[in-house]
Amino acid sequence: MKNSSRREKIWWAVISVLVLVYALFPVASILATSFKSPSDLTNGSFLPSPGAATTSNYEQILVGDAQDLFLSSLRNSIGISLIATAIAVVLATLCAYAIARLDFPGKKLVLTTALAVSIFPVISIVTPLFNLWRNIGLYDTWLGLIIPYLSLTLPISIWTLAAFFRQIPWELEQAAQVDGATTWQAFRKAIVPLAAPGVFTTAIIAFFIAWNDFVYGISLTSTEAARPVPAALAFFTGASQFESPTGAISAAAIIVTIPIVLLVLLFQRQIVSGLTSGAVKG
């Protein structure tokens, strides 16, 4: 018995290492590339050559030539993604509350619409918006990205939150009122603490999706005024015409991955429950 549990432990160690390598290797790969100097890029090995590791790529995008390009896109990405997330979460919270608690005709229509919107090909929306935005002056503006981002963030927010809200024991609200709390107190003391984690989790997932966008980013912007990070990465050029932007892109890629890793480290449990409870709870 002791033997088999020991063998089991070794098995689990092997499997865990495999999963970790699978999940983290590409990140480690681009991390290693971000510390290679331009002349070291072609060394053909995973790590920078011994003694040749450099932070010059990070300097280039944070304080050097490429800082205008990178820092402005970082600002755009953070601002646009946060605003699109906030709007989606507020609208979705109201909507999901109605779906979970109230009885009204068309409930299924709302959920089906959310589902249909979430499978909508983004590129099909881009062409008409491109033309329309140019005509009404939304092209290359924050608002011009926030609006289409709602098509990405809103549907999944509605589904996730509706699933969360269905699990809340709403009787608590009445119980609190029976105990003498006002409607508002009952809502604030009994319901908000239960609903807040769901809203927060939904916000993280919606933020990931907005942060990840590329199609809208390259199609609906043309300058540093609104271009988000993923689109900016694709437009990076080297310090000179003859220098490849590989190092700078890698460094920028690592910087925009840091917030993702932090959120995942801090809220792993919530994100998993958000992604799965929105999915299968028949």
Binding site: L20, L102, F104, V117, I123, S124, F214, V215, T257, V272
Partner: protein
Amino acid sequence: MSSSTINKPDAGKTPKSDRDTKAKKQHSDRVKAERRMGWYLAGPAFVVMLLVTLYPILQAFFESLFAFRLTAPDEREFIWFANYVTILSDSVWWQGLLVTVLITVITVAVELVLGFALALVMSKALKSLKGILRTAILVPYGIITVVSAYAWFYAFDINSGYVNAWFDWVPGIDSDLNWFAQTGTSLFVIMASEIWKTTPFISLLLLAGLAQVPDELTEAAKVDGATWWEQMRKVVIPNMKAAIMVAVLFRALDAFRIFDNVFIMTNGENNTEVLSLLAYRTSISRLEIGLGSAVSVLLFICVILISFAAIKIFKVDLAGTRGEKK
């Protein structure tokens, strides 16, 4: 739901007493108020969703009926469905469709197997490992697709890569292999990046499905002497069919829209152009709004057809498995 006992005012029956009628009237007033409240709360989200998708696709359909390029706005001309004829009789469309379908089928198949394995690992893992494994697996899920594309691109690239050096013992791989000069090898790397990034999502959906398989069933099968493989095939998989179907459909529709990986790695060179990229290049790069809109509409129709086929043929009950019981 709290008010599942709504009595619709029944015209055929005469009420027993006045009090009864009053109660009913009050009841239906409350029902009306609840309905109104429901739409007040759900309405804004509903309207926004329609505005950001339904309106653009209708606009795209309208524009697809014109010969119209932004570089020559005065030559806009109504030409009915001629754009569609142009596209459907061009081999570029069919090549793009072929590549897109190929990528979709292969990535979804690989992801289903890999995702199922990951889901099993996560569900069976010791408590102390669960957190670490989930955290690790969420990194690819959360990472920006463009970043994933660059990570894989640089690893394989003939100049900055190390894959050729690492795997030169594999027949066909040597230091001169340029992965992005041929269709097959390009698609291999594109699909690898896509699979790496999206398998966690499918595995989480499958994990939720696994959790729904009653433990007693697997235990009973074990007692009856079923091997691990038999347990999987006869008990576990049939019991999570719904979750598998939903995961496959969602991923298939997502893979069908693939854009970022292809754009970064090859930009459609060497016959790797997918439909989304074709639409992008037609309307955004070449400013052929009429033609580009037609490609967009066709792509949209493809997505509709896939969903329709999945729902009708495989009986995928999206609403049912995604939480709505009604």
